[in-house]
C-alpha cells in the first residue's frame, strides 16, 4: 500500500494536512510536519502541538491525511485509522531525528518538539491524478 513512489512525499519536505472529526462531528483540519512510513501498511504522524487532533482521535480513530511529492507536487490522500501512540522507542527516536532536520530546514527549531508518534493503519491510498494537469498542457 505504501509504495516506493509515495516515499518522497513522506519525508516531511512539504507539510501534510490531516482531517479528523470530533464527537460532535465537527471536522478539524490542520498541518502536519511529518508523516513517517512505518511499514507497508502503517504510517506515523508526529504530534508536536495539535491538541484538537489528539482529542478527536480519542473518540474517533478515523482520519485522512494528504501528502505531496516535493519534486512535482503529486498528491495522495491516505485514509488512516489510529492504532497506537508511542512516546519512546526506535520509531519515536527515528521520527525525532527527522523532525529535527525538518525544523532546521524551516527555521522552526524552537517550536518543533516531538511529543508523541501516532501510529495509523493505512486503509487506502488515492493518488489524485485528476487534481493536476499534465506537464505538457501548461
Amino acid at each position: 500500500m505504501i509504495t516506493e513512489d509515495l516515499i518522497p512525499a513522506l519525508q516531511g519536505i512539504v507539510p501534510a494536512w490531516i482531517v479528523t472529526t470530533s464527537d460532535e462531528n465537527i471536522p478539524n483540519c490542520t498541518c502536519v510536519s511529518q508523516v513517517y512510513p512505518v511499514d507497508e501498511t502503517h504510517v506515523a504522524i508526529s504530534n508536536q502541538f495539535f491538541s484538537k487532533t489528539f482529542r478527536n482521535l480519542q473518540n474517533n480513530k478515523h482520519a485522512v491525511v494528504q501528502v505531496i511529492h516535493p519534486a512535482d507536487n503529486r498528491m495522495w490522500v491516505l485514509e488512516i485509522e489510529h492504532v497506537r501512540t508511542e512516546t519512546e522507542g526506535a520509531l519515536f527516536d527515528e521520527m525525532d531525528m527527522q523532525l529535527a532536520a525538518i525544523a532546521s530546514m524551516s527555521n522552526m527549531e524552537d517550536v518543533f518538539k516531538l511529543q508523541s508518534a501516532y501510529v495509523f493503519k493505512v486503509h487506502s491510498v488515492s493518488h489524485l491524478t485528476e487534481a493536476q494537469r499534465p506537464a505538457q498542457s501548461l
Partner: protein, 160 residues
C-alpha cells in the same frame, strides 16, 4: 450570542491576499472525515461568511458530506511564513463558481505558485501551477469560530 464579525480581525482576512495553501475538511454522517484542496477563498455577503472554491474533480466527497452533515472546516496557510487560520462553521449552500470567482482561483494559484518556486525551484512552482482550478464549486460557509493554526504553541487557540 452575537454574530461573529470577520472584519474585526483584519489580519485574518489579509491572509486571503497572500500566497496561500487552502484545504477543506468535512465528515459524513458516520463521522468519516474527508479532505479536499481548495483553490480560492473570499469573504461572503455577510460579515460572518466566507466562500471557498473547490475544483469539481476533487469536490465529490465534500459535496456528499455537507448534505449529510453541514459542519465544515477550512484552513488557510500562508506558504511564505506558515501563518495559518482555521475557519470552522456550517456550509449553508453550494453553487457553481462564477467566472469572476474562477479568475480569483487562477490568480491565487499563480500567486502561491510563485512562492512555491522560491522554496522548491522553478519546476516545483510550475507543477504547483498545474493544479486544476476549474470548473469549481462555491461552498458558502457561515463561520462560527476562527482558530490560529500556525505551527507552534499557539496552534488551536481560538481567535473568534
Amino acid at each position: 450570542m452575537s454574530e461573529l464579525d470577520l472584519s474585526s480581525q483584519p489580519e485574518v482576512l489579509a491572509l486571503f491576499d497572500g500566497p496561500v495553501s487552502m484545504v477543506v475538511g468535512s465528515s459524513n454522517e458516520h463521522k468519516r472525515p474527508h479532505f479536499a484542496r481548495a483553490q480560492g477563498i473570499r469573504c461572503g455577503e455577510k460579515t460572518n461568511s466566507v466562500v471557498v472554491f473547490i475544483p469539481e474533480v476533487v469536490a465529490h466527497s465534500i459535496l456528499n458530506d455537507v448534505q449529510e452533515n453541514n459542519n465544515i472546516a477550512v484552513t488557510v496557510g500562508d506558504i511564505s511564513n506558515f501563518e495559518t487560520r482555521q475557519f470552522v462553521g456550517v456550509c449553508t449552500h453550494v453553487e457553481e463558481a462564477s467566472d469572476s470567482d474562477l479568475e480569483l482561483c487562477d490568480t491565487m494559484l499563480a500567486r502561491s505558485g510563485e512562492t512555491v518556486s522560491m522554496f522548491f525551484g522553478e519546476e516545483g512552482g510550475e507543477s504547483w501551477k498545474r493544479m486544476v482550478t476549474r470548473p469549481a464549486k462555491a461552498f458558502h460557509i457561515q463561520v462560527l469560530n476562527v482558530y490560529d493554526q500556525t505551527p507552534g504553541n499557539r496552534a488551536g487557540a481560538k481567535l473568534l
